[in-house]
Amino acid sequence: MASQRPIRATLTTKDGHGAVPVTRSRIDRPERSGQHGASPIEGSRRSLTAAHLGRIVNQSVNEIYVFDAESFQFHMVNRRARANLGYSAEELLGLTPLDLKPEFTRKSFAELLQPLRSGEVERLVFETLHRRRDGSTYDVEVRLQLMQDESPAVFFAIIEDITERKRMQRALQRTNRDLERRVQERTAALRESRERLVAALDASATGTFRHDFRVERSDFDESILDLLDLRAEERPANLLDFARRVPYAEDREMVIAAAEQCLREGTDLDIDFRIVRRDGSIRWIAHRGRVFRGTTGGPAYMTGACTEITDRKHHEAFQQLLMDELNHRIKNTLAVVMSIAAQTLNHSISREHFEESFLSRLQALAKMHDALSRNMWRKISLRTLIEDILGVFQEEDCRHYVIRGNGDAMLSPNQAQSFSLVLHELATNAAKCGALSVESGRVAITLEVGADRDGRTRVSLQWVESDGPVVRPPTRRGFGLRLIESSIAYDLNGQVKLDYPKEGLRCAIDVRLGSDALGSAGEARTRTKLSVPACL
């Protein structure tokens, strides 16, 4: 094997003049050569000739180059190299590495080779581009060695086409960059998602918590502290601690029982309870936790949330009240219908008479309900009622009735019912045998509404018929009359007077309503008996 450093030796010539400095890597001891004039190749069998070895080198699948150490001219370029480059042997032997390496200049190439020349390194390995005869390039890795044993001194290069390797490297780099970018995107998305979650929790007054069954510890986050109006030092240590300290006294037992069951059996949490905030206000909290089980099947951890649902609870309670009220009104109405049926029957002289009267009164009730529900069951205007009932007697070119006077009274549902029935009786009577039974007849209604000394609303309604048939007082007291009298006197605490001058029937009604009956529909406020208890 060649030693690492060149050995400088001097040879003296036979005539004794001068010395010829010779640089060689080693002093070879020639061995007996089997072939005439050929010295055997070191490290090889005697049977392997130099020529054979040369051929082996030529056929190597590595690109092998030998070029002159001084002139850089190629001394040998093997078959693979020639094939890859596309040059013929002749062409190549007239070229230097610089012709193949577009990235180098003579100067930079010389600089590159310097460490080899100086003996600093034994071998150079570097990557560069090779240019083919047709101008295309390919990536190569060059392993370069300087051999100075013999003359001429040469550079020996084994060159590998690393196109594929380079391609894979670049692909790997791209993949890495891609992954990097995706990680960044994911991180950004995660951050954004977390921000959204925090904002949503905030907006919905929700706090989250996590309980670890294995270490028996709970984590309650900041949002829960805010929600429950707890200071940082009051943060519950675990679920049971939470259950014992947080809920309103009345609900505490239930919450403790639920927490114990959850911890014991790993069941999900789903309870509503009240808390008392520091300002004394009571809030409803919905407490939900979902349990996630471990690989062994037992509960591992629970994630959950607390949300304020005070509004919803109030709403539910109010709805229940509304349902009750609705139920109550329907029952009342049914009872009233029963009463009308019974009374109408008692005063009917025939079945047809009953049907007509009964249905007609029911219709009046229905119309009144319609008018009330059009105004959302708030108060209803008396004028509207009069219009509704007398509207059927209106013709295109002729008004059979007129409403005079100022103002209007806003009636509660009960008051509306009474007035409806009264007006219906008056109108029906007028249509059967009074002013509304003939073309020429007219009804003049005068409505005066004002406040009296006590602030209550006084309503005075005058019903005056004219230009109808000649009037005679009734011979018997039908239900209509009884209805008018009892409705005004009993229901409305008022007075009614009926007169029968021959020009036409007159009815004077005088009632006092509550202080809130004065005014128009726009000002009306609901006056119901609904009241929500202070603490549900």
């Binding site: 049914l334 009872a335 009463s339 025939s350 079945r351 209805l483």
Partner: protein, 168 residues
Amino acid sequence: MSVITTLIEGAPGAHSGLEGREIVTSETDKVLSGLHALVAEDNSLMAMLISDMLEEIGISVVRTANSAEGAKEAMSEGGFDIATLDVNLEGHGIYGVASMLHARSIPFVFVTGYRELPFCPAELSNAPRLDKPFTLRQLAAALVKAINFAKLHGPAGRGNSTNPIIEA
């Protein structure tokens, strides 16, 4: 209800006490017949209906009141031994009237369209209730219950003191 029977039989208007008595059993008849009633009801049609039904049972209606104040006035004047109280009179003043009646062992029935009576005092929470609309039979049964309730839970029933103690 006799209105229905007369409709079927085609005899409008007249209703003799006979039909009323057929609906009421002889037992209830003994207990209820001849009583005098106060009807506290602010709707004239309902007052008419209840009055007519009471008369059919054999109870005469001596007073009607359309407010809690009116009912209290009627109480101070006396003259009746059973009452029907509309729970929905203005405000919740009717419970005061009920308590007073209860203290005097005068039986009464709450007439209501509501499921619950949230403002009803505790000692009256088991007092008989009549849900609108009701039949004659239901009215008679409720009146009998009212008499029993007054006997059992009223001061006379408890036997000892004459003071009307409101139980806690």
